[in-house]
Structure formats: structure tokens, C-alpha cells
């Protein structure tokens, strides 16, 4: 049986990758993808704790909700990216500074 720590290490690695991607990607789509990674890291943690601590399905249900919300947020994010692209002909986040002082 695979010990619990392996799962948590996987989650932590995934989270770190996502965070690194979110902080370093130049394109808005890249950032969105990185956020998805962060969410999935959270999901892995939720499933893991559900498996090793409780004997109920609360963590799984929570994970399902997170997946649904991730899908919705991805949709909204992509729509925003398309809308921004139509206006500004770019998806580089450092160019999106028209609200700046």
C-alpha cells in the first residue's frame, strides 16, 4: 500500500509547479492552465485525506465540487481572454495595464 506521504508530496509538487507557472507565464492562457494545476493539487490533497483519515465520502464530494468550479472558472477565464484579445490584440498580461494610473 502506498503511504500517505507520497500522495501529499505529489500534491505539494503539483502545487509548486502550478504556482511557479502562474507567477512566470507571460500569457494569460498559461496562467489559467497553472491555476488548474493548483486546483488539482488541492483535489489530490482532499482525496488523500478522505482516504486516510475519514471513512466517509465528504472529501470526494468536495473534490467533485472543485472540479466543477474549476471548469466554470476556466470557461470564464477563457471568455475574458478572448474578449481582451479582441480589444487589445494581445494576451500578454504585462500589456494589459490600461487601468493602471
Amino acid at each position: 500500500m502506498i503511504p500517505q506521504s507520497h500522495f501529499l508530496i505529489l500534491g505539494a509538487v503539483l502545487f509548486a509547479m502550478g504556482l511557479y507557472g502562474a507567477l512566470t507565464r507571460r500569457t494569460a492562457i498559461g496562467i489559467l492552465m497553472s491555476i488548474e494545476l493548483i486546483l488539482n493539487a488541492a483535489n489530490i490533497n482532499l482525496i488523500t485525506f478522505n482516504k486516510f483519515i475519514g471513512n466517509e465520502t465528504l472529501g470526494q464530494v468536495f473534490a467533485l465540487f472543485v472540479i466543477a468550479i474549476a471548469a466554470a472558472s476556466a470557461v470564464i477565464g477563457l471568455v475574458l481572454v478572448i474578449a481582451v484579445y479582441r480589444n487589445m490584440k494581445t494576451i500578454f498580461t504585462e500589456k494589459m495595464n490600461i487601468l493602471k494610473w
Binding site: 504556482l19 502562474a22 507567477l23 512566470t24 496562467i31 498580461t93 504585462e94 494589459m96 495595464n97 487601468l99 493602471k100 494610473w101
Partner: protein, 620 residues
């Protein structure tokens, strides 16, 4: 048929409304509207006249008008011999004058308005004649005054006409103010305003005399009696038919009518009546003398009117009610005739100076002969109408025992015959004194002349006269003497003016030809002080009142400037300072807003990390 009398003034008023509203569209038809209305009034007046002579007099009420404090006032109509006679005179003369005006005013650009005013004038006068109380009378009285103003200054483009209109209005207003005060005083003293109550008023003599004299003031103004006669000669600036209407039927007759209508008031106390007599005598004599030296055809007739009105007042003043009102009627006919003849002459020769005319009888047959008839009538040659009325006045004066007044009346009659025939001889006989292309006026003007001439001849027979051979002989002799004097001076001698006579009485001549300096005296005593006072008031206005206003404005400007400065530098300064402080503070913190989304994310992550660390370390 007496009950229809109140319709008489309504037709001219309706004609006025139609002409003033639709005059432009009606054009020349407006004359027919006015004349038609006058003619209907004439017919009703005639029916009323006949009915009155059958059924006697009476006044009746049309409707309740005012009711206040237990006193009520009705719209009433008086139908008695006096009002019936005057209704006939006004409608006959008025209708004929309007017919004449078709010819006289043919080319005038305010043709329809002229007829509108004429109708209003007639309507007001007819209403005045029918009034049975002072308030109605006063309303129509002012209506007559207004119309005289409108018509005298009808050619208001000419400054003289506009001034004459104003003079007439203001002068008569002075008298009217007296009348108004008299009416109010009568009301407060007796609580009645009806003419029928005037005979037996229960008030003391002093009040009664004061009221009578105040009412007489109104008559003095309207009938152009001394000292308010100055407006009438100037009123000659109006169109000649207007002069005829004013002099014969409407305006000036109103004053005499007022005295006759309120005669009971005057009879009650003789001290007021004697005032009427003396004012009349002074006016009659003064105006007659002025007429003998004037050279303007219309002004001679105007002074003649003043003189004749003075004659009527004189008659009324000595108690000769019949003679005065009789003369009012006959005078209306022959004075209308004379004015219309003068208008016809002016129409033909385009001048008013009699010494530029001459020998017109040959060129203008109809006008000339009717003119002569009018002159014979006013001079009092038997058996024309003027003879009968004048004779009656003279005998009444003598009968009442006023030798001085009788003397004045005789001299005035003599002068009347003299100045009328001076006019006639100079205008109609002799040789033309300047190049005039005189021509007879159209039939629409000469036919009314003929009708009026017939009235001038026969009006004297409308009233049975006591036959007094001696008095009549004297009266006829007076007029023949006057005519003879004029003949001697102006036909035989045939000089422009009898120069030797003038040289001998230079002072008198100057006095008379300057109209006794009445205008000058008024100018010096009333008008000039008024003007000076107005000037002083104006300079007070422009210096003190305007100065105060300007000072206020100037102070306001200075205060405004101070406030503006305060606003700009203090209030705005505070606001700007607040804004600047905010700006300075924000200069530091806005550096955080990089606009790079990953910076925010990084900050959020480190913030979260710090919070977790704190939680982990702080939790133990």
C-alpha cells in the same frame, strides 16, 4: 314704442365693433355699415319721438346694474321731450355727416377706422342722451370725450393734430373731474343718482350750490365755455366732418344737455344759475369778438360755436330753459350745415385762409347757396330757424330782468351776424384773391348739405313760438344791422381788412386777435410752471434717484469683486490644497499598482505564506 328707445345707441355701437374688427376687409363698405346703423337709430328715434308726443314722457328700467349697501342703480332710459328732441337731432345730423364723410374721407387710408370712431361717437352721445342717472351719463360722457380725442387727432401724423387731440382731452378732463366730484358729492349728500329725483332734494342750499357748480364744471369743459374754451378752436385740426359732428350734435351739445338735464338742481338755488348765465355771457361775447378778426374759415366757425354755446348757457342761466334747448336744436342743424359747407370749400380750394378765397358762389353753386342759408340762419334773419330760437332767448333774458345780460346778448347777436357775413362776403362774393381751381363737390357731399339747409330753414317751426312783434322786430333789426355792417366793410370798401379801423383800435385789435391771450395766460400760469416742476422732478430723478440707484449698483460691483477674490484665493485655495495633499500622498502608494497581474499574485501568495507561518508559529 317708447320701450324700444334703448336700442337706439346699440346700433352705432354694433357698427363700431364691426368696423373696428373687420374694417380692413370691409374697405369702402364700412361707411355703409356705419350709415346703416345710424339710419336704423334714426328710424327708432323718430318712432320714439312720435310716440313720446302721443303718450308723454317716461323713464323705464332695463335692468338692475349695481346693488350695494341698500342702494341700487339701474340701467335706465329717459324718454322726455328734451331727450327725444336731442335724439332726433343727433341721429339726423350724425347720419347726414356720415353720408357727407363718404365724399370727404374718400382717399383717406384709415377710412374704416374713421367710420368706426364716428359710430362710437354717435353711440356714446345717444347713450348719454338716454341715461337716466349720473353714473350712466358719466360713462357715456367719457366715451364722448374719448371719441373726440380719437377723432380730433385722427390725422395724428401731423403734430398739430396730435397736440390738439391731447389739448381737447386734457382740457375737458379738467371739467370732467369737477363733474365727477359733483356726482360723488351728490351721492354722499342725497344717496340718489337719478335725474328724476333732482327736483326735490332735501339738502341745504350751500351743498346744493356746490354740487350744481361742480356739475356745471363738466358742462363748461365739454361745451367749451370760458375759461375752458381753449380746446375747441384747436380741435379744428381734425377732419371737417368731425368738427361738424363735435360742434353740432355730439360733444359740445353734451354740456348744454347736461345743464338742461340737471336743471332741477340749478333751479333749486339761484346763485348757481346766475353763474351759468354769466359764464355763458362772457363766453358768448368773447368768442364772438375773436371770430370777427380771425382769418381761418374753420376757426371762425369754431369761435362761432363757442359763442352760440355761451348763448345757450346764458339762456339756461336766466331761466330760459325752452329758449336754451330750442337754440341747441336749431344751432345743431345750421352749425352742422356751416361746417360741412366749410369742409366742401376746403375740399375744393385746399386752403383755410378766407382771404385766399373769394367769389366761390359762382363756382360752387350748391355749396355756396347752402352756406348762405346757414349764415342767414345763424345770423338770425327771419324766418329761418336761428331767428326763432335767438329771438326767444333775447325775450327770455329781458323778461327775467337782466339788463346787462340783455345788452351782452344783443351785442353778441350783432357780432354773430357781422362775423358770419364777413365770412360769407369774403369767401363767396367778390373776386378770387388767389389762383384757385375751385370745383363743386360730389353729390354725396352736396345732398346732405341740401337736407341740412332745409332743416336750417324749417327747424324753427318745430316749436310754437309766442308772437311778440316788438321783440321780433328788434331781433331782426339786430341781424340786419350786423349784415349791413359786414356789407359796408367787406363789399363796398372791399379791402382785405378795414385798415383805418384797425389802426384806431390797435390795442383792442391786438387783444382780440390774440384771443384775449387766454392761451398765453394758461401757458404762463399753468403749463409753464407745470413744465418747470416736471423739469425739476426730472432732474431730481436723474440726479438723486438715479444717483442712489447707481451708487447701489457700484457698491454691489465692489462687493462682488471682493467676494470674487475671496472665492478664488481662499475657498478655491482650500479645495485645491485638499486635492494637492491627496495627490502627494497617493504618489507614494500608487507605486504598488504595477499593473502586472503576476506581481499581485506573488504578493498574495507571500501574504498567505506569512499568514500560515504566523499561524503555525503563533499557534504553539
Amino acid at each position: 314704442m317708447v320701450g324700444y328707445a334703448h336700442f337706439i345707441p346699440l346700433f352705432p355701437f354694433a357698427a363700431f365693433a364691426v368696423n373696428i374688427l373687420f374694417g380692413r376687409k370691409l374697405g369702402k363698405m364700412s361707411a355703409l355699415v356705419s350709415i346703416g346703423a345710424s339710419f336704423i337709430s334714426l328710424v327708432i328715434a323718430a318712432v320714439t319721438f312720435i310716440g313720446n308726443s302721443h303718450y308723454g314722457e317716461g323713464s323705464y328700467m332695463i335692468g338692475r346694474w349695481l346693488s350695494f349697501g341698500g342702494i341700487s342703480l339701474d340701467f335706465g332710459v329717459t324718454v322726455d321731450p328734451l331727450s327725444c328732441m336731442m335724439l332726433m337731432v343727433v341721429t339726423v345730423v350724425g347720419t347726414l355727416i356720415q353720408v357727407y364723410s363718404i365724399g370727404y374721407m374718400r382717399d383717406d387710408k384709415r377710412y374704416s377706422r374713421f367710420f368706426a370712431y364716428m359710430s362710437l361717437f354717435m353711440g356714446s352721445m345717444l347713450g348719454l342722451l338716454l341715461s337716466d342717472n349720473f353714473v350712466m351719463l358719466y360713462i357715456f360722457w367719457e366715451g364722448v370725450g374719448l371719441c373726440s380725442y380719437l377723432l380730433i387727432s385722427f390725422w395724428f401724423e401731423r403734430p398739430a393734430a396730435a397736440r390738439a387731440g391731447m389739448k381737447a382731452f386734457i382740457t375737458t378732463r379738467i371739467g370732467d373731474t369737477g363733474l365727477l366730484i359733483g356726482i360723488l358729492l351728490l351721492f354722499f349728500a342725497t344717496k340718489t343718482l337719478y335725474f328724476r329725483d333732482l327736483g326735490n332734494l332735501a339738502i341745504n342750499d350751500t351743498t346744493l350750490t356746490v354740487i350744481a357748480l361742480l356739475i356745471f364744471c363738466g358742462a363748461v369743459g365739454k361745451s367749451a365755455q370760458f375759461p375752458l374754451h381753449v380746446w375747441l378752436p384747436d380741435a379744428m385740426e381734425g377732419p371737417t366732418p368731425v368738427s361738424a359732428l363735435i360742434h353740432a350734435a355730439t360733444m359740445v351739445a353734451a354740456g348744454v344737455y347736461l345743464v338742461a338735464r340737471t336743471y332741477g338742481l340749478f333751479l333749486a338755488h339761484h346763485s348757481s344759475l346766475i353763474w351759468v348765465a354769466y359764464i355763458g355771457a362772457i363766453t358768448a361775447f368773447m368768442a364772438a369778438t375773436i371770430a370777427t378778426v380771425n382769418n381761418d374759415i374753420k376757426r371762425i366757425l369754431a369761435y362761432s360755436t363757442i359763442s352760440q354755446l355761451g348763448f345757450m348757457m346764458l339762456a339756461l342761466g336766466v331761466g330760459g330753459y325752452d329758449g336754451g334747448t330750442f337754440h341747441l336744436m336749431t344751432h345743431a342743424f345750421f352749425k352742422a350745415l356751416l361746417f360741412l359747407c366749410a369742409g366742401s370749400v376746403i375740399h375744393a380750394v385746399h386752403t383755410q385762409d378766407i382771404f385766399k378765397m373769394g367769389g366761390l358762389l359762382g363756382k360752387m353753386k350748391a355749396t355756396g347757396w347752402t352756406f348762405l342759408i346757414g349764415a342767414l340762419a345763424i345770423a338770425g334773419v327771419p324766418p329761418l330757424s336761428g331767428f326763432w330760437s335767438k329771438d326767444e332767448i333775447l325775450s327770455e333774458i329781458l323778461r327775467e330782468g337782466h339788463p346787462i345780460l340783455f345788452g351782452v346778448a344783443v351785442v353778441t347777436s350783432l357780432l354773430t351776424a357781422f362775423y358770419m357775413f364777413r365770412l360769407i362776403f369774403v369767401v363767396l362774393f367778390g373776386k378770387p384773391r388767389s389762383e384757385l381751381r375751385a370745383h363743386e363737390s360730389p353729390a354725396v357731399m352736396t345732398v346732405p348739405l341740401g337736407i341740412l339747409a332745409a332743416f336750417s330753414i324749417f327747424a324753427g317751426f318745430f316749436k310754437p313760438v309766442k308772437f311778440e312783434p316788438l321783440m321780433m322786430g328788434v331781433s331782426a333789426a339786430i341781424s340786419v344791422t350786423g349784415i349791413g355792417m359786414a356789407y359796408m366793410l367787406y363789399i363796398r370798401n372791399n379791402k382785405i381788412l378795414p385798415a383805418p379801423l384797425r389802426a384806431r383800435f390797435a390795442f383792442l385789435y391786438r387783444l382780440v386777435s390774440n384771443k384775449y391771450y387766454v392761451d398765453e395766460i394758461y401757458d404762463a400760469l399753468i403749463i409753464r410752471p407745470c413744465m418747470r416742476f416736471a423739469d425739476i422732478a426730472a432732474s431730481f430723478d436723474s440726479r438723486v434717484v438715479d444717483g442712489a440707484v447707481n451708487l447701489t449698483a457700484y457698491l454691489s460691483i465692489i462687493a462682488g469683486k471682493v467676494q470674487c477674490w475671496f472665492d478664488l484665493y481662499v475657498v478655491d485655495g482650500i479645495v485645491n490644497m485638499a486635492a494637492n495633499i491627496t495627490w502627494l500622498c497617493s504618489a507614494v502608494f500608487r507605486r504598488l499598482q504595477t499593473g502586472l497581474v503576476q506581481n499581485y499574485l506573488l504578493i498574495a501568495f507571500f501574504g498567505l505564506a506569512i499568514m500560515i507561518l504566523l499561524k503555525l508559529t503563533g499557534g504553539q
